[in-house]
Each structure stands twice: as C-alpha cells, then as structure tokens.
Amino acid sequence: MNSPAEEEDWDIEITPKNSLLDMKLKDVWHYRDLLVLLVRRDFVAFYKQTVLGPLWFFLQPLATILLFNFVFANIAKISTGSIPPPVFYLAGTIIWNYFSDCLTKTSTAFKDNAAMLGKVYFPRLIMPLSIVFSNLIRFGVQFILFLLMMAIYSAKGFAIHPNLYLLLFPLMILLIAALGLGLGMMISAVTTKYRDLSFVISFGVPLLMYTTTVIYPLSTAQAKYPKYSWLIEYNPITIVIEAFRKGFLGEGSFSWDLLGYCVIVTAAILVTGTIIFNRVEKNFVDTV
C-alpha cells in the first residue's frame, strides 16, 4: 500500500475558487505551442481566400492616413508641427490600432470562442495572449510600412530626426500590449455575463481615439485648451504615442515623469485585469 504522503501528492486540484494573483504561468508555458499555433491560425486565416493576401495589412493603415490627411490636414488644417502629416498620422495610427485591436478582440475573446472553451481545458490566459501576439505581428508589418514612409520623407528632405529616445521603443510596445490586455481582460470578464459593455466598447473605442494624440500633437491641444488638456495628457496611450513620435520623428512631448506615471497606471490595470480574469475564468462557460 501507499503511504498517506504519497497519496496526497496530487497534480491537479479542482476547487471552486482560484487564487487571485496566480496567473498559472507554468501551465501557460506548457501550452506555449498552442499559443504559437493560435497566433499562426489568426494570421493565416486572415488572408485565406483573399487575392491580395498579406498586403491587406498595408492597405488598411494606408487608407486611414490618406483619409486623415485629406480631412484633418487639408480641410480642418490641424497642424502637425514640422512633421509631414502622413508620417505623423501613421505613427499615431499604428500604435492606436495595436491598442484598440488588442482591446476589442480580447474583450470578446470568451464570447467568440465559447464553443471551444466549453469543451476543452487549456489555460484561459492563452486566449488573450494569442490576441496580443497576433496583433503584435500585424503591428510589426505596419511598423515596416512606417519605417519605409519615414525613409521616403527624409530622403525628400523633410525634417525627420530619429534620436536616442527610440531606444524606448520596446517599452512602448510592452506598455501598449499590457494596456490592451489588462483592459481587455477586465471587459471580457464582465461581458461573459452582461453583454451591455460590449456595445459600449464597439462605439466607444473609435471615439476614444480622439482623446489621444493620433491626429493632433499634444502641444496644440495644450495651447488651445489649457484647462482640459490634462485629460489628453494623462491618457497613457497619448504618452506612448508622443514618446514614439519623439524617438522616431524627433518631435513630440515627452517627460520622464509622465512615462513613469504611464508605467504605474499600466501595471495597475494589468494586475486588476488579471485578478478579475482569474475570478471569472473558471466558470464563465456557464454564463457566456
């Protein structure tokens, strides 16, 4: 017979509650191949049965900046400082797109994959993580477009001055991903039971773009609305976009204080998101 100690040596314990901060990273690590395959699936399925294939990754932001250029730079005449408007918009757009794609896709991750999640166990965290990574690939592709555009405009003699601040780039990406993931996890936790929030997201996220500095520089906002500009200034996305522009284009409002603030807010959002996610993770299949 076995000794009692040996019998109590269980690998898995299924209990009603999770510990709140345990992200089960060991489990996630075991399923890392799944993560890779899900990212691949998203990427491949995106352009299956399309003629232009991966080119669509370029066309989307190109069309956006073309429109922005027409509406905001030509009609509304919003200044973009010394940076040529298309490059200015593209810098904001690709960062904003990465955030908003992470947010909206994560917030519906449970609902969209309910059939699969209801039938098989794998660490639920894999789902939002796969979204963050597959959007990172999209971002990477669009980033290449941005670099090309930068090269073209600086060859034409426009004032584009990449500088040492661009070393902060990896941190910028990390911050954006963590923000999208953290907020997305919070929202997904609520939408499994109450769908109301998903309506708010679907019209709210595009509107939220105007509270960041995608189409105007922060300095313009500060000059025009000194009283309310803090709303824009303390938006973590704004801080990232401005720092990104500062590093790659040489013009943008950057301060170490704001960056520190941004890091703290992001960390808080990520931790809160994780806690909420862990609360619902075990039972959401019953309510989704």
């Binding site: 314990e13 491949v44 794998f122």
Partner: protein, 428 residues
C-alpha cells in the same frame, strides 16, 4: 492500486432560464451576503434537478454531493438519463468549469474528449488542424510530429491531408478529430458520447482503441455513453447518476441493471380527445411493467399494457396502440382482431412486440379506441378517442449476434434468410 482521481462532495449548481436585468440585482445581493460572511443565498434555494417537474426556483443542482475514487487503469462507465449530470461531471473533471462546492484531485495528465474536433478551423488544412487540435488538447508540437503518420493512418484521410477541412465530409472530419484525440499521451482519458457520429466500422475501431488504452496501456478511462453495449465492452465499473446524485457505484453489469430498473414516476392526467373520451378513460399505461421512460434492451420482448375504465355499454369497441419514433408513426395495432361489445368495468388491454424487432432509439406510445359497426363503416359513423404521448420507452444499443451494426432503418429482421451462392463461372 494507486488512486488517480478523488472526487469529494462534488456539487454544481446552475441557474436556469435567461440572464437579464434581474441577474445584476441578484449578483449584488450575493456579493453583499458574502461580504457580510453569510451563506450564499443563491445556493440555499437550490433543488434537485428533475427536468420533468416544474421547479419552484430557477437554481438547480446539476450535481449533488458526488464522492468517488478511481484507481489507475480503471475503465469507468458513467450512465444515466438525459440531464442526469453526466456531462456536467465530465466537464468538471476536465476543468472546463469548476464545481460550486467540493473538490476533485487528479494525478497525471487529463485529456478530455467532450467533443471531437474542438478548435478545428475550417479554413486550415487537415495537417494544420492536427497540430492545432493536438495543441488544444495539451500535446506538444514535437509529440504531434512524432505521431503524425500514425494519426493520419488511423483516420484514413491521407489523401485529403492538405485540403481545408471545410471540404471534408462530416465522417472524415470526425475520423480525423478522433484520431488526434486517440493518440494523446494522457494518463486519464475523459470521453463523452463522441462515438455517436462516424460509421460503424470507425466506431468499432474507436472502441477498440479506447479498450487498448485502458487495458493494454494501464491508463484510466472515464466514459459516458447511452450505448450499453459499448459500456459493457469497455468498462469494468459503472457509476449511475440520477438527477445529479450518484445512486449506484460498482460493477458494470449491476450498474446497467440498476439503470434499467430505475423508472421515472408516471405522468399524471392522460388527456384524451374524441367523442369517446368520457366513456373510455385510461387509468394507467405500462411498458414492461414500468410507467414511463422505460429502458429496454434489444433482447427484451416489449409488452405494452393499458388499464382503462369503461363507463357505458359500447356495441363494437377495440383498443389501438400506436408507436412513434422521432415523430414518425411506426405502427398502429389493435388489441382485438375485430371490434367486440364492451360493458362498464375496469379493463386491461395488452400487446406484445417481439424482441429484436424495433431498432434502438426513443419511442413514444399513444393509444386510442374506436366503436365501429363494421357492416356500416364510415367516418361519421365512428366513435373514437385518442390519447397521445401517454408513455415512452427507449431501446438501447447493444450490438451482438442479433443486432448488426451495419443493419440500419427502423425495424430489425432477425432472420432474412439471406444467402449467397455462385450461379456461374466467369469466362475469361
């Protein structure tokens, strides 16, 4: 033996009905109760999960205080009616959902097969889906690579391996999906009724594979099925669930016997229509002496008996029995060859259906009667009554000598005197 699964006081409550505006106030109420350290009001009002009865509250216990232990190498069959909690139990065991109370402790890797082809993406090829599905089930890529040829071979879809699975027939889809799952290297395999799909040959192959898993490789299998034949073939222990409670645990044969004799209580009030409905009143119906939801093995003869009261004299009356399967009338037969006079009193009419005549499935019984003068037959001249859905029974699947997997349709013929003989040589 080593214990690999230990289930203690496992309970799971579900909320019935819709989530709407009412849900948020109740959630707040629960939250408030928990904050004050009181018992969750949500769980106090739970009741036994009997789907046939209208309950008082919309909270039901899908599982209630289940306790059992599983030893390494056991093959356990979980049986019970629809809604008994079988699938919920498997869901908790495979960590898809968590219990409301209690715990499950597991030693080793669990592979659950609650559905075949989970996560298959229609746009991806068979090859890509093998990797994706394998990964979802917890396999590492290297492991899948090693077994890839074996999986394709088992599924028998080699020719289509680079075609998107949306172009597969449903049979091929299932074959491929099961093949992936069957090659999992988990110590514990949890299988829900996935064999309901796929052709007979493949079903046998799957059963064989699962048998190998438990007997040959010493792995543990938990298996839910309505097919007593496969439970019998595969499992050496059985757990019988009834309304969320484990009512029997032990030897497979005994569990099946228990299951078959457990009959639900009779429906009350047999509403009838027709001109005779107040003259002939059905008192009770029994199929093989049980009132409702009777479980019958193919080898059993089926006796349907109806007790009824007659309140006044009818010159030419007989009772008729009708069987429906999935809404299709299978047969209507009478208790007497011709209509005979009937006097007031209590009667019992019976018919017998030979064993191995009806094929497996769920049947419902309706009954009626008519008072007709044969010499003067016309619709207007007939008095009748009809009571529909007064009883039901289910014939289980039990494949054997008398029931061939490859025979299909509604009726089963025991001896068709089928033969084959050579009637001429080919001239080459």
């Amino acid at each position: 033996m080593v214990k690999v699964i230990k289930v203690e006081h496992l309970s799971k409550a579900y909320q019935l009905g819709d989530f709407g505006t009412g849900t948020i106030s109740r959630d707040l109420e629960r939250f408030w109760a928990r904050m004050r350290g009181k018992e969750d009001p949500f769980l106090k009002i739970g009741e036994v999960n009997d789907r046939t009865k209208k309950g008082e509250s919309d909270i039901v216990w899908s599982l209630r205080d289940i306790n059992f232990e599983v030893e390494k190498g056991d093959a356990i069959g979980i049986i019970g009616r629809n809604g008994a909690g079988k699938s919920t139990l498997l869901k908790v065991l495979s960590r898809v959902t968590s219990p409301t109370i209690g715990s499950v402790k597991i030693k080793g890797r669990v592979a659950s097969l609650l559905e075949v082809g989970t996560g298959f993406h229609p746009e991806l090829s068979g090859r890509e889906n093998i990797f994706l599905n394998g990964a979802i089930l917890g396999m590492r890529s290297a492991e899948i690579k090693r077994k890839f040829d074996e999986i394709v071979d088992f599924a028998g879809v080699e020719r289509y391996i680079d075609t998107p699975v949306k172009r597969y027939s449903s049979g091929m889809y299932v074959r491929l999906a099961f093949a992936v799952a069957a090659h999992l290297e988990a110590e514990i395999l949890v299988v829900d009724e996935v064999l309901a799909v796929g052709d007979a040959e493949f079903q046998k192959k799957c059963l064989g594979k699962m048998g190998d898993v438990s007997k040959g490789e010493g792995r543990t299998v938990l298996f839910v099925s309505h097919n007593m034949g496969s439970i019998r073939q595969l499992c050496d222990k059985g757990i019988l669930l009834n309304n969320g409670e484990a009512t029997f645990m032990g030897d497979t044969e005994a569990a099946i016997k228990n299951y078959m004799s457990s009959a639900a209580t009779s429906k009350s009030g047999m509403a009838a229509v027709g001109t005779l409905k107040d003259i002939i009143k059905i008192k009770s119906v029994a199929v093989n002496n049980n009132p409702l939801d009777v479980i019958i093995m193919p080898k059993d003869e089926i006796v349907i008996s109806i007790k009824y009261e007659c309140f006044s004299h009818l010159p030419a009356f007989r009772m008729s029995f009708t069987l429906f399967k999935e809404g299709i009338r299978i047969l209507t037969v009478q208790d007497l060859e011709t209509c005979e006079p009937i006097e007031p009193g209590l009667y019992e009419s019976k018919i017998k259906i030979p064993n191995y005549f009806l094929r497996p499935g769920a049947y419902t019984v309706s009954a009626g009667g008519h008072n007709t003068n044969h010499s003067n037959f016309s619709i207007g001249n007939t008095e009748w009554f009809f009571a529909s859905d007064i009883s039901s029974f289910e014939i289980l699947e039990d494949w054997g000598e008398n029931f061939d997997f490859n025979n299909l349709g509604i009726v089963n013929l025991l001896n068709t005197h089928g033969e084959r003989k050579l009637i001429g040589e080919l001239i080459s």
